[in-house]
Symmetry: D2
Subunit: 398 residues, 4 copies
């Protein structure tokens, strides 16, 4: 049997806290047990706070890809024109959903190491009439980049366009609010910066989005993909459209409690500080970041070009087999081009960043690269100047 890793520092699912694990030890309740209805209602309330929203929230009962497909399936009718903003593998993937549900995709794309310029969105919306929806990825985990979703969705709203935002790994990497950011449907995941388990989709829905779903010729109802089903059952009657994943809900309740106890400002600040330290370390080791600038690097993982002389698999496999550290590589079109250092959830901490960089250094030496042992870690240590767990103070740039 393969050894288990010492630390799961991949880009999701990530290792969860002991508190989260303990929450899952609660007995499995019948979903209509009054105690479970209470837990579910409590969890929904916590999710609103974590999303910082007054919008309705929906917890769909499978990993966030369900929420993304469900959002498209619930909104897009045959013939609807959809502006798909693409800056990476996940953004590109939205096109498949749009096509599957009969939509007519209009693509605005940039290279996968770049971010979209909001002004280009405005230009397209001006140029092409009749666009009804806009789809965009906030934090493009495979590329390690972020898009300026706040500006993009603001522009969409100006044009009366309903936005669908993949913020699966975005929630927790930046302070956000669906209202302030004009996001109509925002789909997040518990298993990224929140550090939870991967079996649920966390979704906020604006009133405009509900209207759009309800006003379709044939609203999507009676399906596992339906967002409306949750409106007419849970939101309106505290009933369930189908059996929820009881233990995943326990985990989510705990994960949200932990996030709120920490505070979303601290939580995002912690991720950003770790990302900055990881970038400093990588650069100090003479490696190059995959994103074209640090300004568009996501806080949830750090994408690094594979150094000359080694392959991504060599780095990843050596790190995993010799030193028990699991990190992720490139994905889809990016396979082989990059490795990704992870700092999500409880891994967003100096001890884990330092451990990871240290083991990466050891690995690169094992693979014959010439680096100065300690150089990366040293840069990270400098970058962590000002960190304080006890006061939740994290270093930030001027």
């Amino acid at each position: 049997m393969t050894n288990w890793p010492r630390f799961n520092l991949a880009s999701g699912p990530v290792d969860v806290t002991v508190e989260t694990l303990r929450s899952m030890q609660r007995p499995v309740l019948y979903h209509y047990d009054p105690a479970f209805v209470e837990v579910f209602a409590h969890t929904t309330g916590l999710l609103k706070q974590v999303f910082n929203t007054g919008y309705d929230v929906v917890i769909m009962q499978a990993e966030a890809i369900l929420g993304l497909e469900g959002a498209v399936a619930s909104l897009v009718s045959p013939g609807d024109k959809v502006l798909n903003v693409v800056s990476g593998v996940f953004g590109k993937g939205m096109e498949d959903f749009i096509l599957k549900y009969g939509g007519d995709p209009v693509e605005l794309a940039v290279p996968y190491n770049a971010a979209v310029d909001p002004e280009d969105v405005r230009r397209v919306l001006r140029a092409i009439p009749g666009i009804k929806y806009l789809t965009v990825v906030h934090s493009e985990t495979p590329s390690g980049t972020v898009n300026p979703v706040r500006e993009i969705c603001g522009i969409a709203r100006e044009f009366g366009v309903i936005s669908i935002v993949d913020t699966v790994s975005g929630l927790g990497s930046e302070l956000l609010s669906p209202e302030d950011w004009s996001m109509d449907v925002a789909v997040a995941g518990p298993q990224k910066c929140l550090g939870g388990t991967p079996g649920l989709s966390l979704i906020s829905v604006s009133p405009q989005a509900w209207v759009a779903m309800e006003e379709r010729a044939e609203p999507l109802r009676g399906s596992f993909l339906s967002l409306l089903d949750w409106k007419t059952t849970w939101i309106e009657q505290q009933r369930f459209p189908h059996t929820p994943s009881v233990t995943e809900i326990y985990a989510l309740e705990s994960v949200l409690e932990q996030a709120l106890r920490e505070g979303m400002e601290s939580l995002t600040g912690r991720h950003q500080a770790c990302a900055r330290a990881a970038r400093a370390a990588v650069l100090a080791l003479g490696m190059a970041l995959w994103p074209e600038s640090e300004a568009i690097a996501t806080a949830c993982c750090t994408a690094v070009n594979v150094p000359d002389g080694v392959t991504d698999r060599e780095v990843i496999d050596t790190l995993r087999s010799r030193y028990g550290i699991m990190i992720a590589g490139g994905y889809g079109d990016l396979a082989g081009k990059l490795i990704r250092l992870g700092h999500m959830g409880q891994a967003a901490h100096p001890a884990l960043v330092v451990a990871q960089i240290g083991m990466l250094e050891r690995t690169l030496i094992d693979l014959g690269l010439e680096i100065t042992p300690g150089a990366g870690v040293g840069a990270a240590i400098v970058a962590f100047q000002g960190w304080d767990d006890s006061t939740r103070t994290y270093p930030h740039t001027g």
Copy 2:
């Protein structure tokens, strides 16, 4: 805060064993960590054994309703004629899926306290040409009944009709095998007789069913509902179509190991013996079973008519609030008509049956009914003659 129940004896999700809870304490792995790929492969292998099948099996990543909708969505094309065999709420519900995916449903229905006669299936298949699929529920949990699925699917196969079987609560209540029973797509749940957590769909797929999916004009691919996606990723390449629910897989692995350690013959025998004892107890208390005969009563729960003079809610709520026992009531069209005693998973044990009947007696007395205290339990105790945990010997009818 509402007290949690002492025992969850509902009809699913049910309480899980401590061994299952412990299995979920394993650290959350990245899904492409070699250790997780190993766990997933191991779990798939165990599932084949539990299903007693050489067919491919698929573990879809949400509660069994996903598997049912996915099976219909993956198979049924617009215009396909589908014989929907209905003996209860769940059977009736299949019609919605058939319609949603463009199928043309033909209904063969019996009252919700009865089972379908296989010869009626044969008659319909003879009478109506061009039927491509048959949908049927094995164990109709809401009614506490079973259909003779083995015979029904055998007849379907004679006619070249592909069967889709909801055996969500059937797996574990009867010894079955997709091959022997001619079931093309069989969808089971971990949270019923196997006593697991509710977040996954367990599906066996016959070669004919794969062919039918692949030969559609537009095979369903790239969707959370797609069975084919699992064939082309996991089955053929040991990759995942999307992020699996890691912790649910841990639980499933453990649940399947426990089932196989016990043996499926023992597991089903244990459920059947408990169901017989529960029925004996109910009859001894002067109450009536909902199923029209004991012969068609399911082994997973015992549906009982609500006694005169009380309502289902009074019984259920008193049992829950005063004595900490959660049981289920009627569902959909059956609401208010019946209560359901639960004996699934670890609740399929004399100690729990006796505790449940005892607390039910106490409740009925509280509600003013005249029953002889101990009469129901006494009948159950007699029915348990021959039970032996240590040798896994369970009483059965001559």
Copy 3:
């Protein structure tokens, strides 16, 4: 490998709640980690509330036998006269400790199915001068009896005699307070009515007892048996005399929180109601109680004479192997004479009493005894009239 039991209904250690198990999942801390010092201080504070005392409390780091030996070792000097009040195996056992530490024991004994009359204590204290200590067992678990400790210790105090009380299974079976009951050193266990794990001794110490320990010619210090070591380290300096059992402390903190959330009055009322129902069931089955009267029966377990025609081992082993119920038998001089039904901790609940009596009935029938199936359970059900988990109302006698 032997199957594990479905329910541990022995007379301690007993099964613990899931909440207690979960509490033990917390990471093991260094004992001088500020977070652990906080947990330990919190736990000590909770213990004072559970003991309902303003006296100092000490948590010695091993099962309650350590607390008992430690109390004697810390107090008794060579030549000290000690009145040992004996009504059972545990009371008799105190003599060994008294002798080991040089004490001069004076015995006041009654048969092991009886309780001591306080007036006899007074008579002895009057008759024999120079008695310095009195040792007495509150709840004699092996006999299923209780002594009137409140009266006995009150008399001891009148005579200036320091009392050492074994209330290992007494705490939680009766509402008590060291001050009101005049108990100088009271030793309790978490693994009885509190339903916790067995690795700790819970001790309250009166100021008089501290003085007696300190004024000895050679106070006991620097030993695992020393109570004084805890006074000079933890109580006075928040330091530890040796490494505490970190995880046991986590469990204890949780157990005490649960007890206080329930309320000690509810907790003891719950135990007493279950004991009454168990006795009613036993009598209805034609069996005899071991205690000479119900008035002196303990609330923590019900000792029953082994019925004619069977042996204690046959009953215990059949119940355990066939039905997964573990109960205890007689102990020491009582071996073979009795069996003990358990209703401690979470087992003090109608569902468990009924399950246990039901399985006992089944067992007795298996062993060839003629009993009416359901007769015992029926009597228990009647006795539970008035029980309500939701309001924590428990039936009690006039």
Copy 4:
């Protein structure tokens, strides 16, 4: 409430593995349940393997200090001459036990940063007639040093002297065997290199030691301190002298299984490699080791002189509060003089050593010391050359 640390890297108790935590989730059994007797017997068997011994082993039911006091109490009679070999705080502490039980201690001491020369032991044994016992600490955790116990005990045996060895933190830091090392009573702890929980004493006893206990004028029996009680109950009759700490035994069973799965040679090699890397890091940072030479440094923790310009509390508290790393300081006479880096149990891994050194560097900079960021980590990385988790290959010195 104080934040919990991210990593407990103290010198015991240390953080335990998730597998160990999960083992403690098993239901609490009655100690005479056949399943528990089986677990206890299994655990005893595993302990023999971990100790690499054919001697009897005893698991006393409290932290290892009980085993040490119990060994002295069980062996030493009033007037017995005991050679106490002292090289640190724990060694010095043995004198108190010797005196308490009436022994006549003869001290052979070296400074607390040194190890004892076996030839000095021989000299004393030759010079002073009538020495019956020798007490010695193998791994002096407070000083971070080891004594050459194999040689010392070999010499004791030549002289017919019974040895009592505190190898609480020694088991797991060096490959040992009571027979080969001539240790008569060896007391180990689960909470050090084995990485377990702290509530038990693990003891191996030679036949000579049993004879010595039994041949005392008044053998110690009927006490929590008695080793003989375990011989006459568990070893001879598979009964218990008192209620064992059930959950601690579950943890120990798991801890021993993990150790044997890894192999004691790997386990000790892993600790030694981490200790070497920690020492290299410390020296690279310009700090000095407390032990007078690396040759006598223990593998379980690395004692480091407090650098000029800071206090031990400043280092420990900053590391703990800002970076969530808990390490230990000096103890007793060594308080204020040193800090101890921890690498026991699962912390004996490059990722944790690097994380710890990195956070220490950060802390020293915070406190105003001038060090080169990354210098310590770099040295550790170099020292870890050759490490491979997958093959359990660990770097060692030529």
